[in-house]
């Protein structure tokens, strides 16, 4: 969002007059490098001038190429588009719309749905502001004609513990080859006669979540909001707060996808965003998961696959596209930090990378290219080897003891009577230190800053309890097992 704002300002005011100033000799606009006829409207990449028509073609082609190259979205599949209202995800929505429209020769054949998570509560919006941006977002979603789902971040507190377990199937079962699936789909469509308009019909029909008038979306009860705010206020650092927000958001989207039967989720991270995320995650100790966190395919959840089709677009391209072709966006404020000098690692990295990009214009693409093509799936076999929070394979095994030390909780907070008013599952057994073995390196660091257990989302605590109990059981059975097994073996 921030990078788009900069670009937007640049395209309107900054660049155009400057270019004119720089090259007064040939004041007539440069011809487009692609068609050679139209006059260039913008310069992308390293000085390639494109006219509007060619830019649009280029932009659309990139999206289709991304999907075509990766071949993970099967025809007829239900795909949930995660929208934030920001430039990148809005441009993504437009691409899907274009791809599904009749004019396009090769239509996209999946069935889209939209989801928007309202995070206004933690982003410092007042109730009125939240209503406002929700309403704006809803009109925007409605205009697409796709089924859409609205969720509030408060609903994350009601998530089931199962969200922290990888879903069944998905990664495990060998799916039919992409080609077979496409052919099967075409056959099926032929049998149904002219199936052309078919895919769009369900989209027009169902409008899932809000039944009421779109102008007045209901906000969740104030008590829930209070609870959510308590959770965020208990978090000690802005870095952990960002991570928590990301986690809750991901889980909410995942839950929506699972309950509504979507098998793919599309998120709109741009190349710029991916580069920032790569560096941020590196600094957060997530180096081992760079591929899962930023690659095209993120398969950690098993049944629902997250894909990132926008990761080839620079933020600048997206900003121009949205500007030229009137893609509507809704801007929501970022997490409030209340101070400037020590923001989150996320913010720091963003600022740093965008700053360096000014001096070294290939920085972002270099960093991004690093993460490109490095797509390895998390190789966790059993659930106990996955991180409780991020569901990545635990990376602790090969580490040196000294490197791990900072992740351990040194002083056990004295057992204050916290959380007494709440029905803590198996209260007393719960200790922060007990969580540590369930977490990956990075989530350990984050967890240490998440504040007291009492304010953690209930589903996290429930799942942690389950895993701790199971680990204990396993430990007990291991003590018993050798005796049982030995007679069997001999």
């Amino acid at each position: 969002m921030c990078e788009a704002a900069g670009d937007d300002g640049g395209c309107g005011a900054g660049t155009a007059p400057e270019r004119r100033r720089r090259a007064p000799a040939h004041s007539h606009p440069r011809p487009c490098v692609k068609c050679g006829q139209g006059s260039a409207a913008l310069i992308i990449r390293l000085g390639d001038a494109f006219c509007r028509v060619c830019f649009r073609e280029y932009f659309v082609h990139k999206f289709r190429a991304m999907l075509g190259k990766n071949r993970v979205i099967f025809p007829g599949e239900k795909v949930l588009l995660a929208l934030s209202g920001g430039p990148a995800s809005s441009a993504m929505l437009r691409q899907v719309q274009e791809g599904l429209s009749r004019e396009t020769a090769k239509r996209l054949r999946f069935i889209p749905g939209l989801v928007y998570i309202d995070e206004g509560a933690v982003r410092g919006q007042s109730a009125a502001q939240r209503e406002q941006s929700l309403a704006r977002m809803e009109t925007l979603l409605q205009a697409t004609g796709f089924p859409y789902h609205l969720a509030h971040l408060e609903q994350a507190l009601e998530l089931p513990a199962s969200i922290l377990r990888p879903g069944p199937g998905g990664s495990g079962k060998p799916s039919p080859s992409y080609k077979d699936a496409v052919e099967g789909f075409i056959q099926q469509q032929r049998q149904e006669g002219d199936g052309d308009g078919d895919t769009l019909v369900p989209g027009l029909g169902t409008r899932d979540t809000p039944v009421g008038p779109p102008a007045a979306p209901r906000l969740p009860p104030a008590t829930r909001t209070q609870e959510l705010l308590r959770l965020f206020e208990a978090v000690e650092t802005p870095t952990a707060r960002e991570e928590l927000l990301q986690m809750l958001r991901t889980h909410l989207i995942l839950q929506t996808a699972r309950t509504r039967g979507y098998t793919k989720v599309m998120t709109g991270e741009s190349c710029t965003r991916v580069a920032i995320k790569l560096l941020t995650n590196l600094a957060l100790g997530r180096g081992a998961f760079l591929a899962v966190d930023t690659g095209f395919v993120d398969n950690r959840h098993g049944d629902v696959m997250v894909v990132r089709p926008m990761r080839d677009y620079m933020a600048k391209e997206i900003a121009f596209y949205n500007h030229f072709f009137d893609v509507p966006t809704v801007i929501v404020p970022p997490l409030p930090t209340k101070r400037r000098e020590k923001p989150s690692v996320h913010r720091l990295m963003e600022r740093f990378l965008l700053g360096l990009q000014e001096d070294f214009p290939s920085t972002i693409s270099t960093v991004y290219r690093y993460g490109d093509g490095r797509e390895a799936e998390a190789k966790a076999s059993s659930e106990s080897q996955r991180c409780l929070l991020c569901l990545c394979a635990l990376d602790i095994a090969g580490e040196e003891e000294l490197a791990l030390e900072p992740t351990l909780i040194m002083e056990e907070p004295e057992p204050v009577g916290n959380g007494c008013c709440q029905d803590t599952p198996a209260a007393g057994v719960e200790s922060r230190a007990a969580f540590i073995p369930l977490l990956c390196y990075s989530c350990r660091l984050t967890f240490k800053e998440l504040g007291p257990l009492a304010t953690l989302p209930p589903y996290v605590r429930a799942e942690a309890q389950r895993r701790i109990r199971r680990a204990e059981l396993e430990l007990q059975s291991q003590e018993v097992l050798p005796e049982d097994e030995e007679p069997g073996k001999s």
Partner: protein
């Protein structure tokens, strides 16, 4: 508000450790810091069952050269290692190895600090002037206003390597701390340098790695790093004759080396080790790096980076028969204005000045020509000049082209004497402080009253590293554990 109690004893605390967030008193902090260093050394020395890495720390009885710059890290490292060695009986034979790059306003003070603080440890100072024939300041003019850290770092590592060879040590211990390694990771990431990132990742865990890899401490991982090491390795492994032909050149230069070591090192400690080996080892590298300089001048013609090294290995026939010819010819090619690869950009201009070193190295041969055949031990006794650095230098320069030709005739003779050389593996390096936070090192040095200099290199502000460093400082202010988190980076496909 009174300061909280130390977590380990009743004394009032005097600091909060960045590493763990513990509040500790002075004494407990020093104890904890030393204990961690001890664990870092022992954990690396013991082959761990989980990973099949070779042990990455010296074993008992081995000789360890601490790369001493006079700064906080190396000062603390030398202090720690000698103290821990006494306390836990590692059985190391410690010595100090310093490099004088010839940077005015920076190195003199730090070398003075090294001399002041060395205690009973033997010290060897190798200088770029002696090894390569120039100082960074001199070469710097040819580099223009840009950063010379890239280039300086490469040669410093080479100098360390040669110094270590001259000393005959088994290990080089460097003072890289957690922040340094994290910085390197960040920097390589920003530059998309996957190969080096992998190396930084493995080095972060203290693995010696491949010979070529180990030569490059990530401390100043720079664009050109691969080239010298790559050359020395490839030329060594691929074509033995090359090595053999190079050795004579080296052997001639040998006395200079040994002279230098005889200056400050208690001679016994190094020469007794393995007289033959030690004296010849440096040679291999010496010449190979001469080769390197030659090859890179060639590169400037061909404007090819990678192939040039295979080129080097193939050219030796020429170089073998008429080594002087090649040097002269390469001298004719003035560094050229090459802008092919990053390495070229930086090294092309130094080459102009490197021409001079070549002269000196070659010409230096004839000063002690007679001592070529004699073994190093005699060489050391023969050349006891105390301040050889300058005096030998000056004499060296007088005989130039004329003096070289006789050399060519002698070389084949020496050639036969030297058996087929095996590639010299790089002296393995270890980083016992790799888990120590920079802040804690400073605190430790302060508590222990260590004498170190903290002047920044005059060229440092130009380094690209500065970006990574500033970022890391910001990150650490936000979250102290960042440097460890970065160090632990080992993305898939990296191991």
């Amino acid at each position: 508000m009174p300061s909280p109690r130390c977590l380990r004893c009743p004394a009032p605390s005097s600091l909060r450790r960045p590493r763990t967030g513990e509040t500790l008193c002075r004494r407990c902090f020093v104890a904890a810091f030393e204990d961690e260093a001890h664990r870092a050394v022992t954990a690396a020395a013991a082959p761990s069952p989980s990973s099949p890495r070779p042990p990455s720390a010296p074993k008992s009885g081995e000789t360890v050269a601490v790369a001493a710059s006079g700064g906080k890290d190396s000062t603390v490292l030398a202090h720690l290692l000698s103290r821990l060695d006494r306390r836990h009986g590692y059985g190391y034979r410690l010595m100090l190895l310093a490099v004088d790059e010839g940077i005015a306003g920076y190195r003199e003070a730090s070398l003075r600090a090294v001399r002041r603080g060395r205690g009973a440890l033997p010290l060897l100072v190798v200088s770029h002037r002696d090894l390569f024939g120039w100082s960074v300041d001199e070469v710097g003019a040819g580099l223009g206003g840009g950063s010379r850290c890239t280039f300086c770092g490469v040669f410093r590592r080479q100098a360390l390597e040669r110094g270590a060879r001259a000393l005959g040590v088994d290990w080089i211990a460097t003072g890289h701390n957690a922040d340094d390694i994290a910085e390197t990771v960040l920097m390589n990431f920003l530059r998309g340098d996957v190969a080096r990132l992998r190396r930084a990742a493995t080095e972060a865990t203290g693995t010696p790695g491949t010979p070529a890899g180990a030569t490059m401490a990530p401390g100043e991982a720079t664009e050109a790093t691969t080239s010298p090491a790559g050359t020395s390795k490839s030329s060594g492994t691929t074509e033995n004759p090359t090595e053999a032909t190079k050795n004579p050149m080296g052997t001639t230069k040998n006395p200079v080396e040994t002279t230098r070591s005889s200056m400050k090192v208690p001679v016994g400690s190094m020469t007794t080790e393995n007289p033959m080996e030690t004296t010849k080892n440096p040679m291999g590298t010496t010449t190979s790096s001469v080769e390197t300089t030659m090859s890179s001048t060639k590169v400037s013609e061909d404007s090819v980076t990678t192939t040039s090294f295979t080129g080097t290995t193939k050219t030796p026939p020429e170089a073998a028969t008429k080594p002087m010819e090649t040097t002269t010819s390469s001298m004719n090619i003035p560094g050229g204005s090459v802008t092919t690869k990053n390495f070229m950009e930086t090294s092309a201009s130094p080459m102009e000045t490197t021409m001079k070193p070549m002269e000196t190295t070659t010409s230096s041969m004839n000063i002690p020509t007679d001592s070529v055949t004699t073994k190093s031990s005699t060489a050391t006794t023969k050349n006891p000049p105390e301040t050889t650095t300058s005096s030998v230098e000056t004499t060296k320069k007088i005989p130039k082209t004329t003096a070289r030709h006789p050399k060519a005739t002698k070389d084949p003779v020496a050639n036969q004497q030297v058996p087929v050389a095996t590639p010299w593996p790089a002296v393995p390096r270890c980083k016992p402080l790799r888990h120590a936070y920079e802040k804690e090192i400073v605190l430790y040095a302060y508590f222990e009253g260590l004498d170190y200099v903290s002047t920044e290199c005059v060229y440092a502000p130009h380094a690209y590293r500065g970006h990574a460093r500033n970022l890391l400082k910001d990150l650490e202010a936000t979250r102290p554990s960042t440097s460890t988190a970065l160090q632990g980076v080992c993305p898939p496909g990296f191991t």
